[in-house]
Amino acid sequence: MVGAFHNLSLDAEDVFQEGLTRAVINVREQKFNGTSTFYTYLTSICRNVCLKELKRPVNIHEVDNNSIETEGSETISEDLISCMTAIKSKMDDACKQIIDLRFGLLQNGEFKNEKVDAFENTRFEEIAKQLNIEADNARQRFRRCMEKFKMVLSKDPEWRELTN
């Protein structure tokens, strides 16, 4: 399938890995209700990954409709995640760490609890303890990092397009 997409910068293994990751997350979040085989589902996700990579002006939902399986492919959300991942990778580690902690992740970047959607913010006092700094310092560091991050987001055309 990957060979059919000319000028694709990803190789088959990258596409498979990315597709499988999205499929696993969708299954976990019960977006895949089993009306088609998992193989078909995975294939359609991988096709979307290829199309996205090529940045073709194709309506991805139309492609999904053509490929039997349409369930649970929240492509916009996935695009937002991809965009976020790309912007995050440009941030410095100290900022990433404080935002991770504030957003309820552990110091190693893992989740505190299994439910990812659980919306919780770790208090600055707790963050300060973990980083061995003052709570006010943690608050200020977070504020500074968030301002910087929001600035980058607001300048990113893809993010702007996806969030407007």
Binding site: Q17, V24, L80, I81, M84, T85, F111, D117, F149, K150
Partner: protein
Amino acid sequence: MAKNSTIDDLIEKYLDGTISEAERELFDQRLKNEPVLSEKLSQRILIQKSWLKSAQHNQVKQHISRLIKIEKQRLKSDSRIWLVAASLIVLFGISSLLIFQNSQKQNDREFLAWSKNPNKNFRITQGQQNEVKKYGALDSTRIHKEMADQDYLPANGAVFQVTDTIIFRWPVTSLKEKLVIFDDNWSKVKEVLLPKSVMEYRLNPSTLKSGIYTWILPPDKLRYQFSIK
């Protein structure tokens, strides 16, 4: 900027749950009336949700990548085992083929030799050939294995021509010191000392007269007979 920071701080306090009851009521009120505040809160929540989703995505991807790596290593080691097995099979096959071909050539050579000189005394049968090779000249050796006691050669009652070679053999475990041969009058005609390492003794029958002989391996008391025509 300062106003923005105040709003951001307020939002963080609101999300923390550290806001007082009075402040919360006021905040809820402002959310209804101030679209900027509402938008900022929505943006903050969207950032957090997409941040967490991105983290989850990375985590799953790393896990899958690890599994793929393990699977690749497993497949690699499996294929290596198969490669070794296949190499051994091929090696075994080639060596068997070479041995078989060599043996066939030997047969052909012997047949050719016999066909050139059929009067010569070839008494070898195909099945015995390999065994006979162990004992020396092909045209003068006879192996007698028809007796039950096959550990001792020649077997009891074996008959030899003067052109044959008599091969005396015994089990490794036998307590032999010497080989003694008696004629039919029970006179000693041959006595050979046998060191431990000696496993066989060859005798040319032409050194003996025609008749029946008995051979023993003292202190072993077993007796075997052979005759020379």
